[in-house]
């Protein structure tokens, strides 16, 4: 899912007519002070990262003056939360809160539902996960007709909203449901939305995630990569996205996995399929190696797409090896992988002579694939050749994560020692 930061989600809510607190983002203490002066009263300073538990992490602070806002922003902007540096804060008016509520719109994947679902609780705010199940009310929403006002009134009544507030809450939730549909959200969570002392309902927080498949319908969002990335977009993520963006001929997925380009023990990782990818990670984890990246060339991609992914994986500097992890008897024709890998290794191994390359390729057309690999790489795989640490395996090792991991580790140690010796 393409995820918005809180302030971005709130901007889109505001454009759709949903009430949000007055506020704006800031990237420095000076900008934070200016924003607080613009608001003109007590403000909340909220760190903007894609992570829950921001209050507990100490990146949400309430302050009374612009200079306090500046100081709070300086402190928050220096923090790293769950591995993510805080690069922006949201400065917004402090609300006079009477009560906090929770609501979210998600996809209900249950077999008998498969539609949007509204979840609501009058116990909103921090620690929503600890609210008892019976206090969280749920309702499936018809994907064609959306949330109707009369259904919303029934729902709110059953959730314990007093009669005098029913139409206010129903109207609020109905509008949010329309936003959820309009923006093709996969998740829209408002925790909390608050009733202020003067009786208004306002979105005090916003978690908005857009369905990746719908991003092309929303150029207004200016989303660069429609993917679930673990952190900030890296150069490798951008390259990976360029492979997939306009080419739907099978999967050619590539993304960074927090690789720092310096530390030893990282492996250029090229699994074939999601299940296979998990087994490959087992192989690496068992021996203490780490994936530099995530990749996937399944769904019968064309050779050029496989080549592009493999070339990018092998282009990562300072990796200690390359693992083509076909830990499944794939039904796609594996000879396309074989041709692509031969081409890539001929091009990239001269830049990384001796790099360990474990090639595990199993499934349809395996015999022909093995022949292509062995014949195409034979000149490289001589005892003193740049491909001396290439090892090719087929179905005899299809699920043998332990063996593959151990071979890769042994070769990686050898390679690292050789490089260290060359440096001396």
């Amino acid at each position: 899912m393409a995820k918005f930061l809180e302030y971005q989600g709130k901007e889109w809510l505001a454009k759709a007519g949903i009430p949000v607190p007055k506020g704006r983002p800031a990237s420095s203490p000076e900008e934070a002070q200016q924003a607080a002066e613009w608001i003109g009263k007590s403000v909340a300073v909220k760190g903007q990262v894609q992570a829950g538990g921001r209050g507990k992490a100490g990146i949400v602070k309430l302050v009374k003056t612009p200079s306090e806002a500046s100081a709070a922003a300086a402190e928050i902007l220096s923090k790293i939360v769950k591995g993510l540096p805080v690069r922006q804060v949201l400065i917004e008016e402090k609300l006079a809160i009477k009560k906090e509520y929770y609501c979210s719109f998600v996809i209900n994947n249950a077999r008998d539902a498969r539609c949007p679902m509204l979840m609501f609780s009058s116990e909103g705010g921090m620690d929503i996960e600890s609210v008892p199940e019976e206090l969280i009310f749920k309702m499936n929403i018809d994907p064609i007709f959306g949330l109707q006002i009369y259904d919303a009134i029934d729902f709110c009544a059953s959730a314990g909203i007093p009669n005098k507030d029913l139409s206010k809450f129903a109207s609020f939730l109905t509008k949010l449901a329309q936003v959820y549909k309009k923006y093709d959200c996969q998740t829209l969570e408002i925790n909390p939305f608050v009733m202020t002392e003067d009786g208004n309902l306002i979105c005090a927080d916003c978690k908005m995630e857009i369905d990746n498949s719908s991003v092309s319908r929303h150029p207004e969002f200016d989303i660069k990569i429609a993917r679930d990335l673990p952190g900030e977009v890296t150069e490798l993520d951008m390259i990976g996205w360029s492979i997939e963006e306009t080419d739907a001929r099978g999967t050619g997925f590539l993304m960074n996995m927090g690789y720092d380009e310096v530390s030893p023990g990282y492996i250029g990782y090229h699994p074939i399929g999601g299940g296979s990818a998990m087994m490959g990670l087992d192989a690496l984890n068992q021996v203490g190696l780490k994936p530099a990246n995530y990749a996937d060339t399944s769904g019968n991609p064309v050779g050029s797409k496989i080549y592009r992914v493999a070339k990018c994986v092998l282009s990562q500097p300072n990796i200690d090896g390359y693992l083509l992890g076909g830990f499944m008897m794939a039904n796609q024709e594996q000879w396309h992988h074989a041709n692509a890998i031969v081409k890539v290794l001929w091009e990239e191994l001269p830049k990384k002579p001796g790099l360990p390359c474990i090639l595990l390729l199993c499934g349809n057309r395996e015999d022909e694939s093995m022949e292509i690999l062995r014949k195409g790489l034979a000149e490289l795989m001589t005892p003193d050749g740049i491909g001396k640490r290439i090892e090719i395996y087929g179905k005899e090792h299809v699920t043998d994560t332990k063996f593959i991991g151990q071979r890769l580790l042994a070769l990686a140690k050898e390679y690292r020692a050789e490089k260290d010796a060359q440096r001396k």
Binding site: E235, I239, S304, R308, C312, S315, P317, N339, K351, I372
Partner: protein, 96 residues
């Protein structure tokens, strides 16, 4: 030099090397791994029997012709598979 453009790749064939090629492995590979775009005409690989649009439609970018030519033919065929941003990525890291 024969240049064939598929959807996202360019195949270049130095056809002057093809006269002495005994295997014509590129065309055989094209037939085995793809849709047989490459055919041999006057001893050289050719796509003249197809229109440019047909080449685009039928081309599967399997790369097999390059591998076949490299190891069974006369090393006359190369395929350029551009990757947006990769040259700059490698250059920054001294990998070119």
């Amino acid at each position: 030099m024969l240049e064939i453009k598929e959807k996202s790749i360019t195949i270049s064939i130095d056809t002057s090397k093809c006269d002495t090629c005994e295997t014509k492995a590129c065309a055989a590979a094209c037939k085995k791994y793809a849709r047989g775009l490459l055919q041999i005409a006057d001893g050289k690989p050719s796509v003249e029997h197809l229109g440019a649009e047909e080449v685009l439609r039928l081309g599967t970018e399997c790369l097999a012709c390059e591998i076949a030519c490299k190891f069974e033919g006369n090393k006359a065929l190369t395929i350029d598979v551009p990757i947006t941003g990769l040259d700059a990525y490698q250059a920054k890291r001294g990998l070119q």
